[in-house]
């Protein structure tokens, strides 16, 4: 088991190179693979075949919960638990409850968005095989990598290496798990 490496990593020098290589890997039918880029490359999602993100679902849920929390909290506090007449206003009205509920909508939505993003990305993950690559710090600077994992059903050390080479990858290395 210990011998099983995490996958193969190939280096690319420019954004268009990694973009076109990604299209080739996608067309070869791989599932468990990734591009490492120092910045989000426009259109790379499509080149990789990554679907539109699911983060909005988290945001929407968070927002709805926030709004309901606000409205029910204000009703509970000002109309139910401790009714208090102020300024001739009704105990509860969606009018004056709106500003606070609105703020809570946004607050909960923001937390849900960020939480959802971390959850979908499985972060924080301070240890990862990719981070052990010698030149990975260039991946946060000016270089691009493609990683194909061994757990991919189509993975085959020789053929995958050939594919990466053909796609223009340089300095192809095995990543230890």
């Amino acid at each position: 088991m210990a011998a099983q490496p995490h996958g193969l990593i190939a280096t690319f020098e420019t954004a268009p190179e990694v973009y076109h290589a990604a299209e080739k890997v996608r067309d070869a039918g791989y599932k468990f693979w990734d591009c490492i880029t120092p910045f989000p490359i426009h259109g790379l999602d499509k080149a990789m075949g990554v679907k539109r993100s699911n983060v909005p679902k988290f945001s929407l849920t968070g927002g709805i919960i926030g709004f309901c929390t606000g409205m029910s909290m204000i009703w509970f506090m000002n109309a139910f638990d401790y009714p208090l007449v102020v300024g001739g206003k009704p105990y509860f009205s969606p009018m004056f409850a709106f500003p606070v509920s609105y703020e809570l909508t946004i607050l909960f939505c923001a937390f849900a968005t960020i939480g959802g993003m971390f959850f979908l990305n499985r972060l924080p993950m301070h240890y990862h095989p990719v981070l052990k690559h010698d030149t990975i710090h260039r991946g946060m600077d000016d270089q691009f990598f493609i990683v194909i994992e061994t757990r991919d059903p189509k993975f085959d050390a020789a053929r995958t290496r050939a594919l990466l080479e053909k796609a223009g990858g340089k300095d192809i290395k095995e990543l230890e798990a």
Binding site: P40, M77, F96, P99, E103, T113, M117, N121
Partner: protein
Amino acid sequence: MATSADHAAPAILNEVNPPELPRAVLVENNRSFTWITDKICGIIEGKTPAWWWVCFIVACFVASFTVAGITYLVATGVGVWGHANPVNWAWDIVNFVFWIGIGHAGTLISAILCLLRQKWRTSINRAAEAMTIFAVVCAGIFPVFHVGRVWFAWYLFPIPNSNYVWQNFRSPLEWDVFAVSTYGTVSVLFWYVGLIPDLATLRDRFMAAGNKLRATIYGFFAMGWRGSNRHWSNYEMAYLILAGISTPLVLSVHTIVSFDFAVSLIPGWHTTIFPPYFVAGAIFSGFGMVLTLMLPLRAIYKLEDLITQYHIDCMCKITLATGTMVGYAYAMEFFIAWYGANPYEGFAFINRAFGPYAWAYWTMITCNVITPQFFWFKKVRQNTALVWILSIFVNVGMWFERFVIIVTSLARDFLPSSWGYYSPSIVEIFTFFGTFGVFSVLFLLFIRFLPIMPMAELKAVTPQADVHGGENHH
């Protein structure tokens, strides 16, 4: 199907032959990715420059005025401020609104410009967001200490307490509590999410340089970011949504701040245009502050390739546009005060312009409506020193706007026998003066320890980041 022909290059492209009108480049001199990384990380990695220490010590000294003012207030009581009937709100809320307004430009640059795909935001958004957070900190000082017994400030939040009584949600001040604390929280989150990839860059650089301690600290906050494109995909969506919700947030915060006044019956306060008018004013003052901060930074760190003349042009134009909107609101208020034919309302406005606070009113008009009109001229926008001076006028003008609205309306309302004239006490002046120090201390720490520009985003707007480069022209 609607989407069938979308991705083929349109055939008619061969037939159109438009003239060239090059767009301004956002990173000048065709800088490489590494240049950007080195430039921005270099600020953090290099030795602390002497000027930084000088500024830091001066800023700490100035900030001590706030500490002194507040300490004296807490020890003595809120009476040490110059408030007295009929002016029971004055500098505290003026300063609060002033600082909150400044904060709004940060969110505006990050969020609204992000939604509008204005790519020029990239080189200024990080610093502008930092400015937002620090401005909110400064703003928060005033209402929190105005409650008097500050150790009871937690009564503002709906936490069960021994009196079994809840907050009054019919009060705009309670809305303010939620608005400002949400705003502060979301601004920090938004800022932090933007920082994650850059923190990872710093982590890797410190690791490569062998600085284990700093690599661990930056690495902890980088959350193990590794530049995975699958992550970028979710990240970008999350960032866009945060931008999307920050936009209505920033509008709502200043709207609610304007409700503090507008839901009341005081002449000069109760007017329906207050919400958008306050928002426009906040953006206006915020851009003034961004210019005030970024122009010296640009000169000190030689960032002319990243904050180009085009950026300055854009900021000047937004200042001009929002200044003019504020002018529209002034005019509309004045007109409707007359049109509404309510004698108190009419008096409030005449009194603003010609009463005892006329000096403040005309300072406001000069700074907010007339100053930005200089930005019509290219010559002015290209003169950095002049832009900087004008930006200071904008800051001053917007402080006076809040002063005029708040103090003139309260000093002379319905009953002439209870009219008064407000002047601040020395404690108030100290406290306000010191907040500039608080702000500067935080800002100096920020430019010393965090990347002042979003490297990943800057790289993404360079020409070499475009994977279709060269494909469009065949």
